[in-house]
Subunit: 362 residues, 4 copies
């Protein structure tokens, strides 16, 4: 039987998360931008199964159910699918995640994200009912643990934690916030304290900002917990994009969001730096969010291979630091088969008419 998420983290293991699904599946043709809902779990299970497998193969220890934004209020708003319910999606997503997790040493995490009802005038009771409905599926399908993710308001995340906590399963909670705090101005340290007090055993951030910024925010959370004499495991699942000019509104404010983000995509070498930095700060649940493709997760696993004691399966197709290029036909490409080359390269954009920084819209 597999060790649970808390057993792993308590034992000091590095747990590698999976990458982002909605952006990756939008590009593969299965998710609609602007809606970002996961009906593909029902409509195209093969596509979802395949990307789960790629992350597993890249080294992920966690397969998150493809249930982002899968609450009925959100699905209705988006109007994307008329004849599929949130419950159907969530059930299907759990089955696919479990099938793939069983192909390796991975756990299934059931995820809930922020809801439109919160932003409206709904009561705590109404909002919690939305999370409860999703939780029922996760309990029925017996996921290994639960993730509260992509919340801009710590207040809503607290409610989600409180609901999920009732299941008795471990709960991780990540906000999509910046070092400045949540969207209401609550500092990261305070957010962490509130989430832990609400019952989360793992806290951190996901999405909205680039890896090093997210690591910085988690560090502020850690400081807040220490100051409050609280203990929790730390987790980070950042964007796979460079966002140097973003403020607390994150990459949604970038003019390039969501259809021209290509040029901001991180390389595998950027990811190795990120993994190292996260590890140094004591974060042990290290994954990705929007912009992470399978090879980015593999880079995280490769960077931490010594600490973890093994390489991921997909490294059979990737020699560390570009060593595989030694067999390339061109001599100047063979000359790139070494760490110093890739570690120090500053890639050109190939776009002489484009600036390096944009003015965020908000």
């Amino acid at each position: 039987m597999k060790k649970g998420i808390l057993e792993r983290l308590d034992a000091g293991e590095v747990v590698i998360g999976d990458g982002g699904y909605v952006i990756a599946l939008e590009r593969r043709g299965y998710v609609k931008a602007g809606h970002w809902t996961p009906e593909a779990a029902v409509e195209h299970p093969d596509a979802v199964r395949q990307i789960h497998r790629e992350f597993l193969r890249a080294g992920a220890n966690i397969i998150q159910t493809f249930t982002f934004y899968s609450s009925d209020d959100k699905l209705e708003l988006s109007g994307n699918v008329t004849n599929i319910t949130g419950q159907q999606i969530n059930l299907a997503a759990c089955d696919i995640a479990r099938e793939v997790a069983n192909e390796g040493n991975a756990l299934v995490a059931g995820g809930v994200s922020q809801t439109p009802v919160f932003s409206g005038s709904s009561s705590e009771k109404e909002v919690k009912a939305v999370f409860k409905k999703q939780l029922d599926v996760f309990i029925k399908k017996d996921v290994d643990f639960l993730i509260v993710e992509y919340f801009e308001h710590v207040a809503e995340a607290e409610w989600a934690v409180q609901v999920l906590k009732t299941s008795g399963k471990p709960v991780a909670a990540t906000l999509c916030i910046s070092p400045e705090g949540d969207i209401d101005g609550v500092p990261p340290g305070d957010c962490a304290v509130r989430l832990v007090k609400a019952g989360a055993q793992i806290v951190g951030v996901n999405c909205h900002l680039d890896p090093l910024t997210c690591v910085r925010t988690v560090k502020l959370m850690k400081n807040g917990l220490e100051a409050a004499n609280l203990k929790a495991h730390l987790m980070v699942q950042p964007l796979g994009f460079h966002t140097p000019e973003c403020n607390h509104t994150g990459y949604l404010s970038l003019p390039e969001f969501p259809f021209a983000l290509e040029t901001r995509a991180m390389t595998r070498w950027d990811m190795q730096k990120y993994a190292r930095e996260a590890y140094k700060e004591g974060i042990r649940y290290i994954g990705g969010c929007c912009g992470f493709e399978p090879y980015h997760i593999r880079a995280v696993a490769e960077e931490l291979a010594v600490e973890r004691g093994f390489l991921p399966p997909a490294s059979e197709k990737h020699d560390l630091w570009g060593k595989g290029l030694e067999l390339h036909t061109k001599p100047w490409v063979r000359a790139r088969a070494r760490r110093e080359y890739w570690e120090n390269l500053l890639p050109a954009s190939g776009r002489p008419k484009c600036p390096s920084m944009a003015t965020p819209d908000a």
Copy 2:
């Protein structure tokens, strides 16, 4: 029964090719960079099937067998797989391609690419034997037509065309050359003439350079054919990367090749410009090569939807010109749901320490 490739082109139809496999599958974890061989067709057929499906869904009318560099001499050199033969790979690849092609109105194209034996001191007979061995599989599996692709020397491509021609199936031939000509300095117009004289009914270029440069090269081919009073259909399958500084050695010379090309990746809007430009020049077989992801092919299909009379299946998850953003939660993102916005955006790189152009290594 489906119309063949020549029937379609003769009728003036736009035929959309599929995208690149080796770079995309490297990132998904199934191909090793530097080797670029297609053993995944045997090792991980699900992964190959899935990406074929994504291209089909994105609008591709052609599914190319995943047989790039799949000649035994190349496989042996790369040393990547010891217990799988080129024949096994090619047989498996044909089956997968056929399975997916049958899910839509697509044809299967069997492809051969340049061989290490040519660059060595081998005779015409030896080189042709390599192509013949691959052709035998394509005949056995009854592919719909054949593609000679990724040849730097028109001389070697001529031999390949001559071999494939013996099958009686239509033959397309694309070189990976620049407007300056092939690696031996043969101008594009002369290359086209030689390929048509060797028996190709479709000629053009693939890989190595960005879309507009490749269109320019095909135009030079067209001019060459006209001057020689020859007729052939035109085809283009360029890189999905910006390569403004490249010369005839193509993107292999860029310092970013192959592990830091992210920032050069084209957006879907870049692809719409490319599709329009290719169409204007009279090219009717329009696809992609390295760097093309499914959404890039969808963008080609969407740009030419009026000319073709229909949208691809994956457009159910993509409203034209970002219209789907009208449902986004943030008002400034909703403001981006229009053509002028995306058509004129110059995306920032998010990388202030990176230049916009590199110095090619060769």
Copy 3:
């Protein structure tokens, strides 16, 4: 008789400083980089007189004596001139400054800057003696007021203020510090308080960082003074270069310093933004330092022409916001004769291989 500096500032007038001398005269051929000493006042008085005149004509109300780094210890160290003493330079510089100031409504300011003896192990007495020697010349030549400028240590600047204060002439003091504080970590607010307590009636910053950063530092000084219930006039004489990546060590740490700063040079339109911003923050002595050419000072004067009630003499050769282009021979250049054009232009670097930000050396 002309109004003194304090009368002007007390009356709420905007006083415009002159621009930088050492970088400008280095490019004209009269100052040696690395030494940055002002022997040209003796060797080439015409060249010094001419640039003074250009700043006067551009709108400067102050002509600073060209006496930067003109202490004997510094001159000896630099070894640049063997037969000219600091006293000779200072005497000559005062005469030239007075001659030009008399050609307009300008005052002469005698300036002292930080000394090598301070960085060594010298006592307060020794350091003060260096300033006293320079002051003697300024008194003899009866300059209108004194400026303590380009000090990295507020401690040394205090000593300089104390010495200059003995003359009974008004004293202005500007440090070359960042918002982080002086080189010893003393915050800007504390620096301002110490300088005012030492006797300065005008305080602020000069050199080392770009205009908006310097304005930010002066604002911190203002806050410090308010918190301490002290009053002083505010002054700013920033770099004329963009330095977004610099920290407290300033532009000396940029790889481009001092021979490749061209691309960072500010446009006249950048300067108008700077002048407006400085004015908004309550700064009334607004000038420039290294990188400011005469047209930059003219831009400051033009931006504040309404507040001051007049344009500078050199505006006879410069129509506001490019209006003079209406007479250009090319129609597309004529189309640029308007404010919106220049205010919104983001100038291209013309250097595709250069990044937008550098890594400071310190």
Copy 4:
């Protein structure tokens, strides 16, 4: 008595030209952009004398009279000065140029540039009369030789050469054209042939494009002359700006012209490369045009110091390759006192929101 221009060139000497006047004096406050007329020769002779001196000191062997666009038709059109005639300007300009030339081993060159009457419907006779009027002054003031410069139409330049030729003085002729040819499409080689046949002993290009592009154009001229079995000395006086994206319309088409060109300014190291390249191509009259400041000319003189056997006077304030930095106070700046550092530096723009290339307006 000084050797004449032809004696020098015939003897194989490198003759260094002076730099650009109108852009430099616009920034100093004496020329109005859009008009670009030289009334400062009368209004502010000190300013003109000083910049002449700076170029002389930087190594210039030629002092061009400050008579650009100084024909009455142009002055009238510009409406810039109502009470000064072209003749007055030209007389004054000759006197100033002679005074400075006599301070060193320099020659005075009287210059004429293209005229508005040509672009209108005027006859050859009318156009030639304009040149004749200017020539009369040059003869009266006995300049050493004549320069026909900044002509977009070789046809007009031919007329100018024919007129100036009547004086018996040597005539140099430079067009402001690109490698594509003059504004009417006459190729550089043909232009050169026509100018030599009209009587010019020295031919080349000036202004409009960056140094290496101009050298390329002169090379095409050289080839044209060789093909025609004609002999002439070669000359180049390019822009001091990077203009990689410009076509035959030159930098006037850049969005940055003329008030935001700062970031395109070349460094002294760029100039050394230019000087070397020009020398290699056999060009022996090497100077500059718009954007050249005195230190740029000094860099040309320093690069060719070995070939010429001496350094210019201003090099007393400039140690080769930054050697003077050895005395800088900061250790990391001292580390820059070497050739490899400056030769390989790619300067950052300090402008993250600016692109590296612009779209020319024409």
